[in-house]
Symmetry: C2
Subunit: 216 residues, 2 copies
Amino acid sequence: RKVDFRHEEIASRIKEKLYKNGTLCLNFISSPGSGKTSLLERTLDALKETYNLAVIEGDPETDRDARRLEKLHVPVILINTSGTGASCHLSPAEIEQAVDDLLLETPPPDIIFIENVGNLVCPAAYDLGEHHKVLLFSVPEGCDKPAKYPVAFRESDLVLINKMDLAPYCDFDLESLKKDALSVNPSLEFITMSIKKGDGLLEWFSWIEKKLAEVR
Amino acid sequence: RKVDFRHEEIASRIKEKLYKNGTLCLNFISSPGSGKTSLLERTLDALKETYNLAVIEGDPETDRDARRLEKLHVPVILINTSGTGASCHLSPAEIEQAVDDLLLETPPPDIIFIENVGNLVCPAAYDLGEHHKVLLFSVPEGCDKPAKYPVAFRESDLVLINKMDLAPYCDFDLESLKKDALSVNPSLEFITMSIKKGDGLLEWFSWIEKKLAEVR
Ligand SMILES: Nc1nc2c(ncn2[C@@H]2O[C@H](COP(=O)(O)OP(=O)(O)OP(=O)(O)O)[C@@H](O)[C@H]2O)c(=O)[nH]1
Ligand SMILES: Nc1nc2c(ncn2[C@@H]2O[C@H](COP(=O)(O)OP(=O)(O)OP(=O)(O)O)[C@@H](O)[C@H]2O)c(=O)[nH]1
Ligand SMILES: [Mg+2]
Ligand SMILES: [Mg+2]
Ligand SMILES: [Zn+2]
Ligand SMILES: [Zn+2]
């Protein structure tokens, strides 16, 4: 784990601000293309009538993901990391200003979603002040990743197993993935889904509501 | 691009040693699970009767990939990066010793394949002394990656588009991928393939032979 006291100090400042507002913050990490933006599109669409939502979007370059999410009419703050020297992950220093801006919204968001840079290594090592890291895993990647890229699984609280519609065409063994992941982090929860077909989304929405109730 | 003179100095030392031996060196980069190890299994199997081959395998943890490749009876040197402080990529300093060891083999290898850590960001920024970076891209990742993760496409000479067998079940537009990639790097070459079905492999093998002839 990268111990940078500056990072840890900023992360605890962010946590404090979120706590005062009773705002839930979730940090999505995954390999590139696992489905983070697709999941946010469905999630924002389903929950925005009930809750005030906001997104912090991290990408090395372009505003493509931010544009997709702005169509849902929620506040989106884009951070392009390629200019920052560490384009492989979001750091707490980059997030703090964005969280401050979003908490000034009237009314402030109930939930802030952070879509991190697509990278199964670095983003897992940084605490952005979030309540939970949510790891979005996709079936075509294969089932040996928990053992090979353990930090992401160790630091997350929930693993969403996406693209289950592709399972019949991939060498994918769900039980072996879960077994490997639980040996890295015994308290992990799992939800299998196909964003494309809409499977598993209701279970995911109720997990979010459960976590929001915990910070209220 | 990360300019670290120590890295550049080591990379040019490695290039010098490879040049003296007439050894081709290819550096595979991709997202996690795009198919690097699967490709190496097929490639080693097809070429080992004709050429002397060797592999340097980089993974954050475990020897799973190295074990898969040792079954092909070629020399494999494993580097677990999680102990190095920068577990997201291989660096020239880690490679130099491995190249020295492999060049002492009798006879020395005609080709050294480097399987880098699964990460579409950092590995692209480091020159390991290789002749070519080969980017292995897989269809399920989606076709917006060249614009979003440009450094990997800019630094590579060839893009292998794998898992074409999954294209009918994914929102994948081959022409838009190629167009985006060429706007980042106009000299990129492409080979579409399905390692699972064996498609595109012969074209890939003849690309390797063409590159080997160039260093002889
Ligand atoms: N077959 C299938 N494809 C999916 C599913 N969910 C997402 N996709 C596709 O996966 C590709 C990548 O989706 P994105 O949502 O852009 O992935 P991402 O994780 O946000 O990608 P980055 O931000 O670049 O890391 C797109 O082509 C989606 O259509 C699914 O459940 N099944
Ligand atoms: N459907 C399909 N699956 C493939 C193909 N090529 C590889 N796979 C699968 O993709 C998964 C990952 O393959 P690997 O070869 O381990 O990928 P990798 O890039 O070496 O993974 P890391 O080293 O962990 O980054 C495995 O389940 C393979 O069976 C293909 O052409 N089609
Ligand atoms: Mg995205
Ligand atoms: Mg591999
Ligand atoms: Zn990083
Ligand atoms: Zn790195």
